[in-house]
Subunit: 104 residues, 2 copies
DNA sequence: GACGTTACTTTCCAATTCGGAAAGTTAAAT
DNA sequence: ATTTAACTTTCCGAATTGGAAAGTAACGTC
């Protein structure tokens, strides 16, 4: 039984996984939508997004929507790739666990 | 896009996932084996195992092996169930991410 | 039967991380 | 010029995580 592929610390945290899962499905998502799904406060979401942006995984774009200022978040190519790798690592984990016959 | 099933905090941490993945495949594993796979120090492994034991997820049994004292770790039924649920949550995450066409 | 060794366990401590509240910022609406 | 909406940053406190080192328990040895 060998060590599994490494999990990305910038994505592994639950709120970040949620955010990433959403972003993987869309070209961009609204701040408010992510906050709702990740179920965190403004400040916490903002901090997670900053961290992910710092890692080069997402970009934030402010755009006027109905006059109001909104922030749209998107994966960068790097972010998409990192998330894909992270998912693969999780898949590997699931797979390794799936041969769960009771052997010794 | 709805919130995904919750991830179990007692299992989500990387070292714990590794430990759980191993345990899911065997009836019991040696302390030393887990330490090697999780790639952590004695003290850290011991603490993770204590935490998982406290959660009712694993049991530790000391047994003499070749004269020497060894500790064998096993999932409880509850632990197995919790890990299964956790894996299902990860699967759901993977699945939700998998429709990753670029839609909006 | 004192002593060393092995195999953990617990304590100590520092570094991160995480979260919310509250204060700060900025651009648009009035 | 003010207000307001939509974040962002600061300011905490609490919890996690990790290693080193000290502690403990069970043998094995002499």
């Amino acid at each position: 039984m060998k060590p599994l592929p490494p999990l990305d610390p910038a994505l592994h945290q639950p709120a970040r996984l949620q955010i990433a899962a959403v972003l993987s499905n869309v070209s961009s998502a609204e701040f408010a939508k992510l906050r709702e799904i990740a179920d965190v406060s403004d400040s916490v979401l903002s901090k997670h997004l900053s961290a992910m942006a710092e890692a080069g995984y997402v970009t934030l774009k402010k755009a006027a929507m109905d006059g109001r200022q909104r922030t749209w978040i998107s994966f960068t190519r790097k972010g998409r790739k990192a998330f894909k790798a992270h998912m693969a690592a999780l898949q590997a984990l699931v797979a390794s666990a799936e041969q769960a016959a009771t052997a010794e």
